[in-house]
Subunit: 352 residues, 2 copies
DNA sequence: TTGAAAGCGCTAACAG
DNA sequence: CTGTTAGCGCTTTCAA
């Protein structure tokens, strides 16, 4: 490895007979300089293969052009997390466009760290919290209170008065499913929620609440609108639950699932019982990428949560905040109800 | 937001009546200083809420304590990528332990960027390329040639003389599957490989090659050991292929799949034909997390690729390189063949 | 339009 | 064991 002297802004100042101040202006496209000077400088930079040092820039400008990204806690190995990977994709692309870097910054938020320290460390210009649950609420509250650029996913939090969130319809799409079923003439429905070891039960409770609220609102019985929690890693648990629903006096006509593997299982079970999808029972599930569901047969109807878009939007919103551009950016990323074969737009016509 | 003066190393030098040099030594646990001084300094740092500025440290020390992580190109939305998410988890944890940050650095590698510029930008101390395919080989070659700390996943590349890779058995476990079937008395086997739009066909070819090589080695016919490529998003394509294999004169006795959703489909199809797993046909698949397969019924036998471990190991190796510790770290992360119900350890005994 | 010079906050010889 | 001092490479007034 050649130990050649690192070429700096001084070298290119020298090469062009200009001062480093001018070079700096040109690098940052800031202040005034003649077009002629600019092209001369750019030429010199290319010839000498000059690239500004990121840390020198940060130190002098007090900006890092870096976004801290906090993802759900990693140490527990869990099955496919489409949300995270899609969110990450979108965030990466957006960061590229806006010329920011993404720092995976779970490290800043160790229990001992104080928010002010995190801010003062000046490692990043802002933070994005992607679906991290409650564990980070404390940090988020402080960050937001300190007016440090912060964006998080999900519904707006009580302590957040400025809408620092990007919302993908999380609590909404399950409600909508129930509503749609109700309107399309599906009379017995069930909403399944998976439970995995060591996962926050809070999510499960939210779903349970949605179902209860819906029942109340429409005056439905437990039988007409069920909430069912099952153990993800115990296929029998799901199987028994589903089989029972399918064989009772008034069998379920539509089910909602939150995991693709479970959908596959559901398909197996239903077919094994000699029932048809969607004629005998309709199936709907959550997906985080657009084609999710197409690999099923019959193709699966999904509530497609635009996780990719959410990641993109989160970065846009954050950069807007960091650079105080004051643009009006929509915080809401609506999900799509993607009708496919497993759920008929109308219950009435399906048996024709 | 209070515009209070930022507290720096000078402030804490003043508060303790020491010089900044001593403070710096204590921050970095480098050089000599008395225990008494140390505790005094630490106390002062806590009281004043001091945190060193990351960019100042980088500028002065020419180290960033940051690792650039390059993941497979994101713009194409694809289904669940367990490898990536697990790899990322492991890398995050390792980086935490070793006190490094992870920078998602697809941005450095835009077509226009030259490797030397990337290095000179000094944004990171080293790079990890996780399963990025051939698109980055050019960069990797230059980086390695320039002796810049670099680690990548997969088999060692021809231009890499130093073993800068971490290997998870990728080309091996499919071979092993065939070998195990052969030994256990499964005589007709098929290895399925999914094909997704816009994905590199190269991966598919590697699998095809494995099958051909195995046939040659054992003197098997096409019927005894098949390679089958199917369209992931066209379930019928898989279904027809599998049904045919199952109904021919000498039906397949064991199949290998590379996608979980496809496994689910296979289960459906097999059961719908009135066949049993594993008595009539055994099923094995790749998984990237340990419990993957348990959600199937009967539980799925998998070749469990330790992606999490690979991520962890990659970071360890890279840091070892960056800090020139010269530790002997194993590059190989063996996969595990996890026997579960869908594949009997012995074909002979299963019908008892 | 350009230049001079004072930092930004920290590290690392070197001297004591 | 501790202090002095010269950078690290760039940004940013303030003058010219």
């Amino acid at each position: 490895m050649e130990s050649q002297k690192n070429i700096t802004i001084y070298d290119i100042a020298q090469a062009t007979n200009l001062s480093i101040a001018t070079i700096s202006r040109i690098i940052n496209k800031k202040g005034r300089y003649s077009a002629e000077t600019e092209s001369r400088v750019i030429k010199a930079m290319e010839e000498l293969g000059y690239t500004p040092s990121a840390s020198a820039q940060s130190l002098a400008s007090n900006q890092t052009h870096t976004i801290g990204l906090v993802l759900p806690f990693w140490s527990i190995q869990q099955p496919n997390d489409d949300f995270t990977i899609q969110f990450l994709s979108g965030a990466t692309i957006a960061a590229n466009h806006l010329k920011y870097d993404l720092l995976l910054d779970n490290r800043s938020f160790v229990p001992s760290a104080s928010t002010s320290q995190i801010i003062k460390r000046r490692r990043v210009d802002g933070f994005i919290f992607a679906s991290v649950g409650n564990s980070y609420q404390h940090f988020m509250a402080e960050l937001i209170a300190a007016d440090f650029p912060t964006i998080y996913t999900g519904v707006q939090l009580p302590f957040d008065r400025n809408g620092n969130n990007v919302y993908g319809g999380h609590e909404i799409y399950k409600q909508d499913f129930l509503e749609i079923c109700y309107q399309k003439g599906y009379h017995n429905t069930a909403l399944f929620t998976s439970y995995m070891q060591a996962q926050e039960l809070q999510m499960v409770e939210i779903s349970r609440q949605i179902v209860e609220d819906f029942r109340l609102k429409k005056g439905l019985t437990q039988e007409q609108c069920r909430f069912i929690m099952y153990d993800y890693y115990n296929p029998k648990s799901f199987q028994y639950a589903l089989e029972e629903l399918l064989t009772q006096k008034n069998p379920v006509e539509a089910i909602y699932l939150d995991q693709f593997p479970t959908c596959s299982q559901a398909y197996s079970i239903i077919k094994a019982m000699g029932l048809r999808i969607p004629e005998d029972v309709a199936v709907v599930a959550t997906s985080h990428y657009s084609r999710g569901g197409e690999e099923f047969s019959p193709k699966l109807t999904t509530t497609y949560v635009h996780s990719y878009e959410m990641g993109y939007r989160a970065v846009e919103l954050l950069v807007n905040k960091i650079e105080k551009k004051g643009l009006e950016i929509e915080h809401d990323v609506p999900y799509s109800f993607l009708y496919r074969e497993s759920f008929s737009p109308s219950k009435k016509t399906q048996n024709q």
